[in-house]
Symmetry: C2
Subunit: 288 residues, 2 copies
């Protein structure tokens, strides 16, 4: 595995692979990798000649009172895991390499960044869109892989790619969960054992809603209300949101039809956790 | 010359050239080509294996009361001229091809788009940055060619490319002028013969300032004031601005040193015309 810290190094590695006729798969991450990330790498590995993963904790997507400083980092462990999963290039730039001077340019997918997590993190998705645009220009991938757990992020990036004609295919990869349903997240390390037990309420709320949908419920507000009640009743958990939206537009759905995302977020101890469930509904039929 | 109207067609032409090891030069235009545009094409021709020119009157960069509807168009004449200048691919998409649905994504180089022309055209450079980002993703050029006459546009695009790591080299090409100094512009067709005579005041103001600089004047405000007086005194001309700024940051300069742009704009009849002069100043030395 090539370990690149500069833009020049990663471009050289990609150009070499291009000359050999290889397709490029790209997995952008903030590091502290878990099995969810590694599933992205494995998927990219199957579908491409060269696999590039980036590890970069992007300051631009953190708000002023968020966890930028204490976000967990362990680059040597990440490099070891990526090597085991046959990643070809690890791009781990410094903040200075990515932002050598203050940014004047922003990429913003305005309306898609505002609902859901955007309400508590108003500049987050602008920071995500901007760094992903940079990384796409640096790496030049054919396909880029994102975890479905970050459902709003996937919607924002898909829309950015479509609106701006990026020549990149966006692949979203199913969420990896613990045996009790908790979605894997680098931020789960913030949880005490007790908080860890309560955190499964997000998954339980989603599973409750899934059960109701399979029983025939199609009312978005009814399902949102039910999930909110479940999360709100859990000790040590403060609900942020529980919503039922269109997977691509993120608009709230009165009636469930087409691509549906059940999206939840809550504060548990020092962590803000998110999760979602995505379904395609055609009348009585529910595709998972 | 290949005439492409769809994104797919132009991408296929570029991919074919890439396979043949050719570099790609790109000249984005709004059509109604004049010798200024053709100098861009000639420069691109000398420096690249494949030359792509686009003709697209981009609605996004026109304000609500601007000249989008009456902007001059003559695609057959443009195609003929491009062929004569050995352009390889003409990309002339419809508005629907470029904007199949309402845009949610914007690319904005906020601070650079606000001064100078940005004051009378507050959304213009956002529209320019966004369409240029789209065109760069569609064409995938190694080099892109812009006229120096649009000095603020060049500054905005250079900064966007740098901030977002576009793998594109921006080449600015000197302004082509009529024998009496008027900078070529597709909007010059709006001028009556009488207005046409008055329009040279922009060039005369710049030349006055140039003369003062060669005499040793280094005060930005003094030069700006002098240019404003010359333009203000011209019958049938309403001054928009006359400024002395840094060529890259567009910040007003008290003292002339480094990369300097003298920038002027005025309304003449139905036309809003701009012009500029760029110099590099190192103490007593003036490089043109």
């Amino acid at each position: 595995m090539i370990r690149a810290t500069t833009i020049r190094e990663v471009r050289e590695a990609v150009q070499q692979a291009r000359r050999e006729g290889k397709s490029i798969g790209f997995v952008p991450t903030m590091g502290y990798l878990h099995d969810g990330h590694l599933r992205l790498v494995d998927t990219a590995r199957r579908e491409n000649g060269l696999v590039v993963a980036s590890v970069f904790v992007n300051p631009l997507q953190f708000g002023p009172n968020e966890d930028l400083q204490r976000y967990p980092r362990d680059l040597e462990r990440d490099a070891h895991l990526l090597m085991q999963h046959r990643c070809d290039v690890l791009f781990a730039p410094s903040v200075e390499e990515m932002y050598p001077r203050p940014m004047e340019t922003v990429v913003d997918v305005a309306r898609l960044g505002q609902p859901l997590c955007g309400r508590s993190r108003p500049t987050h998705f602008r920071g995500v869109a901007t760094v992903v645009a940079k990384l796409f220009h640096i790496v030049g991938p054919d396909r880029a892989y994102f975890g479905r757990k970050d459902g709003q992020q996937v919607a924002v990036i898909r829309r950015m790619v479509e609106d701006l004609n990026f020549p990149v295919e966006i692949v979203d990869v199913p969420t990896v969960r613990e045996p009790d349903g908790l979605a894997l997240s680098s931020r789960n390390v913030y949880l005490t054992p007790e908080e860890r037990a309560h955190a499964t309420v997000l998954y339980r709320a989603l599973q409750w809603a899934r059960g109701r949908i399979l029983e025939g419920v199609r009312s978005g507000p009814e399902l949102a209300r039910g999930m909110a009640e479940i999360i709100g009743a859990e000790p040590g958990v403060r609900m942020d949101y529980a919503e039922v939206v269109h997977t691509d537009t993120l608009e709230p759905l009165e009636h469930l039809e087409g691509r549906v995302m059940l999206a939840v977020a809550a504060y548990v101890g020092k962590a803000r956790l998110i999760d979602n469930l995505q379904l395609t509904i055609r009348g009585d039929e529910v595709l998972e």
